[in-house]
């Protein structure tokens, strides 16, 4: 019986029945059934696995770097499937295409998976209800699902999903399953404790650094201080004498856009590898031809030159330059943001086994298993089927672990030594090697007429992530990523004349996205300059913004809620001040009010009130947690020293000279979430961009001095 059924299912899946199922964009692999010694496993769709023993497994397709995807993603399935998260096991997807895009990034998990995963859950629920109805010989309409069971109305009858999963998997997957009315949600939008927290407070959670593979050796890579240099010679006699050191080999650091030399010290344990690396002398041959604005002073000099010239037009409504030329009241200013390191506490690491049979297995803290799968296959020249990706938890990332140069290094080492290897970067590697959040300038120009803002121009100046990392920016074009964030459609200020332009300034300092990407740079200039215009117009900055946002009700609502919660209208005593800013990124609007005071030791940040409208969300407590994190990281970005390069190498090296916020620097934080039924927006990043400008505006209100360069000196 079971064998027949299994054949049947196999045939169904081969005929491609599952195509629709409402998992838009995912593979056609539905209703596959596998036999394990323990139980029959029914994969009703790639995200939902129900065993006839009753065990239910949901797949989280977005790696968890602290943003809460372990709860958020399966919640979308569970809500419609009618199971509680404490009834299911959650596993991480492995990069295979049947799971669709698996990249954690761009605050995309909930907003990207919102419909596909709810449909997947709802489709599976309809199949299970239909199976129960068939089993009982009753109408489907008389059955309903709750907490992993199908129940018959007006009776005591019920079956678990496991009991009817076998039958359910023989049905066609409904193309348009009925989704719940959001008003009926039981999980989404409700406070629920994250069930992965107990492991994270007891040392049981497994991060990349914790991977342990039989026969594994350890590696430390010695990188070029000037990033792009080649090896002239290696003096390794002393290093080879270090107890536990097994070998010292030349490898490569393959970044997305370039490959550079490196040396790997292979050892029996991590300490021996670190010690061996200290005893090693690598003589680097300067590749000065590859340095391009590789000192921050050169880069900024070139950027300030570019700020005096027109950029490439990204969008323009009206003729900005004509208005600016002829205007009586006009303002112009240049704002600056530095390079920043992500500086997650868990440094880059990967464990890789390139096996004798040509297959490859990876254990690593990475943001996208699908990207890792194709990258590893391509890098090692093996078929994707031969590669298995195991994603661990990430000990922080903020964009860094989506740039998988460290994974390539581990692949290169394992293929050369023919052993499984765990590679761990040190904090010094993390800080000195990049990639970094690019330093950028904002040149802002504004025209006021009769006390209101008439024309606005934001010229973004600096290196393009698409251009440097992906070689994806044609000459004389604007980087879409940043021009999108600066567009009038995004900021919604109804200037009659509005222009966005971009000037690319190249650098060979490696760059990549950093929490909230360019919004973290340009929120600073945009929102401080709006305050400058408000002051010039002799208007309150809040009223000035509300006047410009007449056609943007969600912005108005966010600002009004901020004003109410921050008690904005009540004047503060002498020596205290507040400042506001608002910025939309990743489909969410976030505004902040920062309170500062003068103290004997400088300016103190007393309190931050933040409002976020992220549409519908999964867990309000996680939205708060992410926003708290964004405030802390935003304050660091605004007040701590950035990354600088001198003599073509990074000046900073570890947390002693690249400082991140400490406990005592935490202001009081109040987070308020707008509740509505709008489409979900991002949560992991949008809280950050308003922090620096709200602080800058508060400092202006406190001191009367307009600061335009980050970091601010408090």
């Amino acid at each position: 019986m079971k064998n027949n059924r299994r054949e049947f299912i196999k045939n169904l899946s081969l005929t491609g029945i599952g195509l629709s199922i409402g998992v838009d964009g995912f593979s056609k692999n539905i209703a596959i059934k596998k036999l394990t010694p323990a139980s029959l496993i029914l994969e009703i769709n790639p995200f939902i696995i129900i065993e006839n023993t009753g065990k239910i497994t949901l797949v989280n397709s977005r790696p968890d770097m602290g943003q809460g995807s372990t709860q958020a993603v399966p919640s979308l399935l569970a809500e419609e499937l009618e199971v509680r998260l404490d009834q299911v096991s959650i596993i991480q997807s492995d990069g295979r295409s049947k799971y669709g895009s698996q990249q954690s990034g761009g605050s995309s998990s909930v907003r990207g998976l919102w419909m596909p995963l709810r449909k997947a859950g709802a489709a599976a629920k309809e199949m299970l209800i239909k199976a129960a109805a068939e089993k009982w010989g009753v109408n489907v309409a008389d059955c309903y699902a709750e907490a992993g069971k199908v129940l018959l109305r007006g009776s005591q009858k019920s079956v678990t999903y496991g009991e009817v999963a076998d039958l359910a998997s023989t049905y066609e997957v409904p193309k348009n399953p009925k989704l719940k009315d959001p008003k009926d949600f039981k999980i989404i939008g409700k406070y629920n404790k994250r069930l992965d927290v107990p492991d994270r407070v007891s040392g049981k959670a497994i991060y990349g650094i914790d991977a342990e593979i039989p026969g594994m050796v350890y590696a430390k890579v010695v990188h070029s201080p000037r990033i792009h240099d080649s090896i002239a010679s290696i003096e390794d006699a002393a290093a080879r004498k270090v107890a536990g050191v097994l070998d010292i080999i030349k490898i490569e650091r393959a970044m997305p856009h370039t490959k550079v030399d490196a040396v790997a010290v292979i050892a029996q344990n991590q300490w021996a590898a670190l010690k061996g690396a200290k005893a090693l002398t690598v003589n680097w041959k300067s590749e000065s031809g590859k340095y391009l604005n590789q000192n921050t002073s050169e880069y900024f000099e070139a950027a300030y030159v570019a700020a005096k010239k027109p950029g490439i037009r990204a969008e323009e409504k009206g003729d900005f330059d004509a208005h600016f030329e002829s205007a009586n009241t006009k303002l112009e200013a240049v704002y600056e943001t530095p390079f920043l390191a992500h500086a997650a506490i868990e440094s880059e690491n990967a464990t890789v086994h390139v096996k004798d049979d040509g297959s490859v297995e990876v254990w690593a803290p990475i943001q996208g298993p699908d990207g890792a799968l194709s990258q590893v296959a391509q890098y090692l020249g093996v078929a994707e089927e031969k590669v298995k990706i195991n994603v661990t938890l990430l000990g922080g990332s903020f964009g860094r672990k989506a740039y998988m140069d460290f994974l390539n290094e581990a692949c290169d080492i394992s293929r050369k030594i023919k052993k499984p290897v765990k590679l761990l970067w040190t904090k010094e590697d993390d800080i000195t090697q990049g990639p970094y959040r690019p330093a950028m300038l904002s040149r802002l120009q504004g025209v006021l007429e009769n006390g209101s803002a008439k024309a606005f121009h934001h010229q973004a100046i600096g290196e393009s992530i698409a251009g440097q990392v992906f070689n994806g920016l044609r000459p004389n074009t604007a980087d879409d990523w940043l021009s999108g964030e600066l567009s009038q459609e995004n900021h919604q200020y109804n200037f009659e004349v509005n222009k966005v332009s971009y000037s690319r300034v190249k650098t060979s300092i490696p760059i990549v996205w950093w929490r909230s990407v360019y919004a973290s740079n340009f929120g600073w200039g945009q929102e401080c300059f709006i305050d400058e215009m408000a002051h010039e117009a002799k208007k309150d900055p809040l009223e000035f913004r509300l006047g410009l946002l007449k056609n943007a009700p969600r912005f108005i609502n966010v600002l009004n809620l901020l004003a109410e919660k921050a008690d904005y209208k009540t004047p503060l005593p002498a020596g205290k001040a507040k400042g506001i800013a608002v910025f939309r990124s990743f489909d969410s609007i976030s505004a902040a009010c920062v309170f500062v005071s003068k103290t004997d030791s400088g300016i103190k940040i007393d309190k931050v009130v933040s409002v976020i409208d992220c549409g519908m969300f999964v867990n309000p407590d996680n939205v708060k947690a992410q926003t708290e994190g964004n405030i802390i990281m935003g304050i660091q970005a605004a007040t701590k020293g950035g990354i600088t390069f001198e003599n073509n190498q990074c000046v900073q090296s570890n947390y002693n000279d690249y400082q991140i916020s400490r406990n005592s620097e935490t202001p009081k934080m109040e987070i308020h979430i707008v509740e509505n039924y709008e489409r979900p927006g991002g949560v992991g990043e949008p809280g950050l961009p308003p922090i620096a400008p709200a602080l800058g505006n508060a400092i202006f209100n406190l001191t009367g001095k307009r600061e335009r360069t980050l970091p601010l000196v408090l």
Partner: protein, 153 residues
């Protein structure tokens, strides 16, 4: 190579290692207790915090040769009473961790604080916790959880 009998969480581990190996690597790689993490390696971040005879120390700075034979080492795996310490319960209640990587160290610092000061005030909490970095920015919740835990003890 020297042999060290390390008492970790009331269990003796026979560790064969170079005398200059920092305790963090012996705990992680040789005793295979992965709950203690490695961060900066220069005593700036506190993620490797363990207790040495009840005192919080940065295990990345403590060579095996400096650990006395009678010393008792406690790691995150050794504080549970019997399943979870009050501090861990408070951490769960307050939903402190985001990525969680620094939290073993944070919790070890908090437990050490509460062992000597049952009812710390804000300043005492900050003084005890200042050496533990959290890049996710969970500090407000950490401080609240310590206050909550102090009421449970």
């Amino acid at each position: 190579m020297p042999v060290f009998n390390l008492n970790i969480n009331n269990k003796v581990f026979k560790i064969t290692a170079e005398a200059d190996m920092p305790l963090v690597w012996a705990i992680r790689d040789l005793a295979n207790l992965k709950g203690t993490k490695f961060g900066c390696g220069i005593a700036q971040c506190g993620v490797c915090t363990v207790h040495l005879d009840g005192q919080p120390i940065r295990s990345c700075q403590m060579p095996l040769s400096a650990i006395s034979k009678k010393a008792k080492i406690t790691t995150i795996e050794g504080i549970a009473e019997p399943t979870l310490h009050a501090v861990q319960k408070a951490w769960i209640e307050e939903q402190v961790p985001q990525c969680g990587y620094c939290q073993s160290g944070q919790i070890m610092s908090a437990v050490a604080l509460l062992n000597t000061n049952k009812n710390p005030n804000d300043e005492e909490i900050l003084a005890a916790m200042e050496g533990n970095l959290c890049r996710c920015g969970t500090y407000q919740r950490i401080n609240q959880a310590i206050k909550n835990a102090s009421k449970m003890l």
